[in-house]
């Protein structure tokens, strides 16, 4: 693995954040399976090194846009379990007061501009956020997370064109998990994905999305350059989605084999790889890592418990927040 962050604290925080994402998702899946969660959710498990490697290269004031598979980005940008599980269950204390749910979950105070349930729908928003930074002379960088499926949307090419024309500080982060919903990426994407960005003169990189240090090292360099006005940039992060398109997508053999899933989980898991590296480099002992895992598990269980018992928003909130200045839109 490539070395980048140089002190123990940084490495352990990255590990912790990856485990927090995996643990959050395991609990979310259980909430679905036990019919305690309304609706469906899209698991980020397997892709943790992407969100963490990137968000650990960002400042608190930098912005991100997220996707329907957005729990990982939300955790990585600094959100707390309690408010996240409350949102997942539609409770008043959720980050969006229960109005967003899994597909719109975001801790807005950390620069997360929202998870978007329209595939590719946030590409304009991310580019616009970078436009603001340039116009107001701020040095914020915005990262636009999206999947390989979104590369088929026309909006991406419209906004990359403008971002390149105007040198906007935006990094397009394509999480290529191999599947566009229930279809192999190779069946929906002609040619090369990075070449599409390069056609606009945008510097593009392909990186192993299961290697958190590689993702982090590259992102740190690009973020620094984007701050200086050298953007935009494009990243294709090669990763894998352990679960189906959503939690209800259980029988997947018609589009991918169990052997393939097993291979990624056993041989390329980002958390196992990083853990092995931390131990072999003497950054942490097995015992310390086990203790960290146990603590995160306990935190998550406490947050789930809290959220299950938390109250729903009062029904009078249904027509609040339609407009900023009209308290009840239907009154």
């Amino acid at each position: 693995m490539a070395k980048t962050k140089t002190n123990t604290e940084d490495y352990l925080r990255m590990y912790r954040q990856m485990v927090r994402i995996r643990t959050f998702e395991d609990n979310a899946n259980q909430l679905y399976l036990s019919a305690k969660m309304p609706g469906l959710t899209h698991m980020y498990s397997g892709e943790e090194a992407v969100a963490v490697g990137i968000c650990e290269a960002l400042k608190f004031t930098d912005k991100i846009t997220s996707t329907h598979r957005g729990h990982g980005h939300c955790v990585a940008k600094g959100a707390e379990f309690k408010e996240m599980f409350c949102e997942l269950l539609g409770k008043e204390e959720g980050y969006c007061r229960g109005k967003g749910g899994s597909m719109h979950i975001a801790d807005q105070s950390n620069g997360n501009l929202g998870a978007n349930a329209i595939v590719g729908g946030s590409m304009g928003i991310a580019t616009g956020s970078a436009f603001t930074a340039k116009m107001l002379g701020k040095d914020d960088v915005t990262v636009c997370f999206f999947g390989d499926g979104a590369t088929a949307q026309g909006l991406m090419y419209e906004v990359m064109n403008m971002a390149a024309l105007w040198n906007l500080p935006v990094i397009y982060a394509c999480e290529n998990n191999g599947y566009s919903e229930y279809t192999k990426t190779e069946e929906i994407a002609a040619g090369s994905i990075t070449a599409r960005a390069e056609a606009f003169g945008i510097e593009a990189h392909q990186v192993d999305g299961q290697d958190v240090l590689a993702v982090n090292a590259l992102t740190q360099k690009l973020v620094e350059r984007a701050r200086k006005g050298e953007g935009p940039f494009f990243l294709e992060l090669m990763t894998y989605r352990y679960h189906g398109h959503h939690v209800g997508d259980i029988n997947r053999e018609y589009y991918r084999s169990k052997d393939e899933e097993k291979d990624w989980k056993e041989n390329r898991d980002p958390i196992i790889r990083f853990r092995t590296w931390l131990v072999s480099e003497g950054v942490a002992t097995e015992d310390e890592i086990e203790a960290m895992n146990a603590e995160i598990k306990k935190d998550a269980e406490a947050a789930v418990d809290y959220a299950l018992n938390a109250k729903y928003p009062d029904v009078s909130e249904v027509d609040m927040h339609v407009f900023t200045d009209i308290k009840h839109a239907l009154a």
């Binding site: 959720g94 969006c96 967003g100 501009l113 590409m123 616009g128 403008m162 927040h321 900023t324 200045d325």
Partner: protein
């Protein structure tokens, strides 16, 4: 009082607001040196520069998306959509993103954005450059919709729109850009949700939007010759809608015609008529009549196009029939 054109009024509103607030900028196709095909923006780039009067490629979803993201992060974009007909191209960014962001975030994110575009047929521009599509956006919770009916209205409503923290869509009638009206030199704003009683009368209420206000006023003059006193009301904004003023008038006159240039079916006229029926039924002496544009794509030939929109004679004729107690079945 001095008289200026509607085009000059919009230009003045934008210039004043851009001087007042450096976060305000204009983005769209050919808005800078060209000043738009209608020359509404001429001179603005000279004063504010290309950093705030931003020419884009022909990519409506792209620049609309950028504006949404820019608005969410601290600027106040005025998006210039060259023809109202192009609104179909930006529906996702307008209706799934801009309109819902405040609500989905539980009130934490705002989208202070103005979309300025136009409507209106009889310019011999055929079916893709003549539509009046305000009903489409008025249908979507989270969007405010303003319909200026003169230069005075256009300036005051535009300034209010720019200061509003919500997404506002403002439709100018493209046939009225050269129409002059008295506009004070000193600053004024026109509040949203306050209808304007243009002419008082006791026999029938004519509720009209945008350029249909002129049509209604002419119809009222014709009717006055027959001794019928029509009250003409311009709602100014259809979201929010000043129901109170409309109901007060109809309770007085007992009859109403709603005139609007959008297609009649499933449109603004039907919505307003329904509200009057629901809330003033026992005051009505006749069914509320709808007069919208014909439910056909706008034809090119003048011989065909001119019959698709409401005219003063048509309104006056329908008013006479309502007054005589004749039941009218809309075409």
């Amino acid at each position: 009082m001095r008289e200026i054109t509607l085009s000059q009024a919009v230009n003045e509103a934008l210039a004043e607001e851009m001087r007042r607030d450096e976060r305000v900028f204009i983005i769209g196709e050919d808005v800078a040196e060209a000043g738009t095909p209608f020359k509404v923006l001429s001179g603005l780039v000279e004063e504010f520069g290309t950093g705030r009067v931003v020419d884009t490629p022909i990519a409506e979803p792209g620049f609309m998306g950028i504006a949404v993201g820019a608005a969410m992060t601290g600027t106040r974009p005025v998006v210039d959509l060259m023809f109202g007909d192009f609104i179909y191209l930006i529906m996702d960014q307008l209706c799934n993103q801009a309109a819902k962001t405040h609500y989905m975030s539980g009130g934490k994110l705002n989208v202070p954005l103005v979309l300025r575009t136009n409507l209106g047929a009889t310019r011999r521009s055929a079916a893709q450059h003549s539509q009046s599509l305000h009903a489409l956006v008025a249908h979507i919770p989270g969007l405010k919709v303003a319909m200026p009916s003169s230069a005075y209205e256009a300036k005051g409503l535009m300034k209010t729109a720019i200061r509003d923290d919500n997404p506002v869509v403002i439709f100018e009638d493209k046939l009225m850009y050269q129409d002059k009206a008295p506009v004070p030199e000193e600053e004024y704003l026109i509040p949203f949700g306050k209808a304007n009683v243009k002419r008082e009368g006791s026999d029938i209420t004519l509720i009209a939007t945008s350029s249909m206000v002129q049509v209604a006023e002419k119809a009222a003059e014709i009717l006055a010759q027959d001794g019928i006193e029509a009250e003409v009301i311009d709602p100014r904004t259809i979201v929010p809608l000043d129901e109170e003023t409309l109901l007060k008038s109809v309770r007085k006159t007992s009859r109403a015609i709603v005139i609007d240039e959008g297609h009649q079916s499933y449109g603004i006229t039907g919505e307003i008529a329904a509200r009057l029926n629901e809330k003033a039924f026992y005051h009505l002496d006749a069914p509320v009549l709808r007069m919208g544009a014909m439910d056909v794509p706008v034809p090119f030939s003048p011989a065909l196009e001119d019959v698709t929109v409401p005219t003063p004679d048509g309104v006056a004729e329908n008013a006479r029939r309502l007054m005589s107690g004749e039941m009218i079945h809309a075409a």
